[in-house]
């Protein structure tokens, strides 16, 4: 029997999907066609209290999802952290080569295994100005993957993400833009990087060549743009959504 893998059909399914249910079913089908069992796709936002417009589509076991949210795994999710380091797809088994895993992070990877997530492949998606996101595919083993599965998963995950953006846009009635990382001025952003490096307002002022009160004003404007978040949460959110990068804060 001929092995009919209809790649064009996979892609057009995403171009034609009308709503989240369509997208979910189609992504589920594609995951299985590739030899995976599990998938999760969405924006990287605070999953315990996501902004209205964040996408999240997944067939992960509800028990695992509940545990991840309840135990706060998503905050230091190693897959998420690794995805900020690259524009290319990566296997979960590559993660130890990409980031230094903490004990807690190793525990997350281990805890996920019984939920069909022993192995996986994640595709980072970054549309400039928007929250970063990923599309992940999981399986008990990579042995069941079809030939060329990883590049195919890469393209499928990217089309799936664009499909989700399109659906959300039409749901919003096309009036607003897509979920935006707060737009900061250059000075506000510079101040935010320095806050992330642990500087107080007077030092920020000195480093940027402005008065301490001006520096304070910039940081206050950034806090307002992030819904009045306090400084520690501000830094976490800005790293999380890609407004500032780890390398800017910690240096290369």
């Amino acid at each position: 029997m001929a092995d009919q893998f209809d790649f064009n059909g996979m892609i057009s399914g995403f171009l034609l999907a009308k709503d989240e249910a369509d997208l979910h079913n189609h992504l589920d089908r594609c995951a299985h066609e590739l030899g995976f069992r599990k998938f999760a796709m969405g924006h990287h936002v605070d999953l315990s209290g996501p902004p209205q417009d964040a996408i999240r589509v997944t067939n992960y076991d509800p028990a695992w999802i509940e545990r991840s949210l309840g135990d706060g795994y998503f905050v230091y999710d190693p897959v998420h952290q690794a995805s900020t380091k690259t524009a290319m797809g990566f296997l979960w088994s590559d993660i130890p080569d990409m980031i230094r895993l903490t004990k807690a992070q190793k525990a997350v990877l281990e805890a996920a295994r019984p939920y069909g997530l022993s192995e996986g492949y994640t595709i980072p998606v970054h549309v400039p100005g928007e929250y970063r996101g990923t599309c992940s595919f999981g399986a008990d083993s990579l042995d069941g993957l079809r030939a060329n599965a990883l590049p195919l998963a890469n393209m499928i995950g990217t089309y799936a993400f664009e499909c989700a953006r399109r659906i959300m846009r039409s749901r919003r009635g096309g009036s607003d833009g897509p979920p935006n990382v707060p737009q900061l001025t250059d000075r506000q952003r510079d101040s935010l990087v320095l806050v992330a490096r642990g500087k107080g307002d007077p030092e920020i002022g000195t480093l940027l060549g402005i008065a301490a009160t001006t520096a304070h004003g910039h940081v206050e404007n950034v806090r307002r743009a992030y819904g009045n978040a306090q400084r520690p949460l501000l830094v976490a959110r800005a790293l999380f959504d890609g407004q500032i990068s780890y390398s800017e804060v910690f240096g290369r």
């Binding site: 790649f7 064009n8 892609i11 057009s12 171009l15 524009a87 290319m88 797809g89 980072p124 998606v125 970054h126 549309v127 400039p128 100005g129 060329n148 990883l150 590049p151 195919l152 890469n154 393209m155 990217t158 089309y159 993400f161 664009e162 953006r165 399109r166 846009r169 096309g174 833009g177 897509p178 737009q183 250059d186």
Partner: protein, 208 residues
């Protein structure tokens, strides 16, 4: 305003073109580490930069480069047809109405918000250029990370074949269908930016 330049010109002929080749060197050679030829230590120029190429450039009045793309005719040697034909199921599309988009380059000096604006203006200009010149399709070879940005522009874009892993990056051939509807698709995606398209090419006046 976006200028279009029919045909490659050597250094000195146009500030906008020269600065484009300089930024191409910064982006493709210095940043992305492509193995492509560099002239004079400053200009990235390859075998497809010929009299048949068309360049769309967003530049300042003094020729400062903000962003650009290079269009290549498909009935002559081009990247997909000559270098990556295996990325297409069956023969890659060719014809007077099919052109290839290559060397999409935004100036590394632009801040994030500016990058978005230039990107949208260049994309809109490319679609306008296509509609004016009877181009019904663009093809392009895209690697990891770029596909999501190309798709997010909103136009009708589909793969020409299964992607492959090339030099560690997922790489695929795409075709972008251009029609009367395409401008509306850009609008729906939020990437439409009204722009004036103008023939470029005041040659730099020679010293008297």
């Amino acid at each position: 305003m976006i200028q279009y330049f029919p045909g490659h010109r050597g250094p000195g002929a146009s500030a906008a073109l020269d600065n484009m080749h300089r930024d191409r060197k910064r982006v493709f050679v210095d940043l992305r580490r492509w193995e492509v030829p560099v002239i004079d230590g400053q200009f990235e120029v390859d075998q497809f930069d010929s009299e048949h190429a068309v360049y769309l450039i967003s530049a300042g009045d003094d020729g400062t480069h903000y962003g650009s793309i290079r269009l290549l005719p498909t009935d002559r040697p081009h990247i997909l047809g000559s270098l990556f034909p295996h990325l297409s199921d069956g023969p890659s599309p060719t014809g007077p109405d099919v052109w290839e988009i290559t060397r999409g380059c935004l100036s590394p000096r632009l801040r994030a918000a500016e990058r978005l604006r230039v990107r949208n203006r260049l994309t809109t200009a490319t679609v306008q250029y296509a509609l004016l010149h009877g181009i019904s399709r663009f093809v392009c070879v895209a690697d990891s990370g770029w596909l999501s940005q190309i798709l997010s522009l909103g136009w009708n874009c589909e793969p020409l074949g299964e992607p492959q892993l090339i030099a560690g990056a997922t790489t695929g051939a795409l075709q972008i269908h251009i029609s009367a509807r395409t401008i509306e698709q850009l609008r729906e995606a939020g990437s439409y930016a009204p722009v004036r398209l103008q023939l470029g090419g005041g040659a730099t006046p020679l010293a008297a």
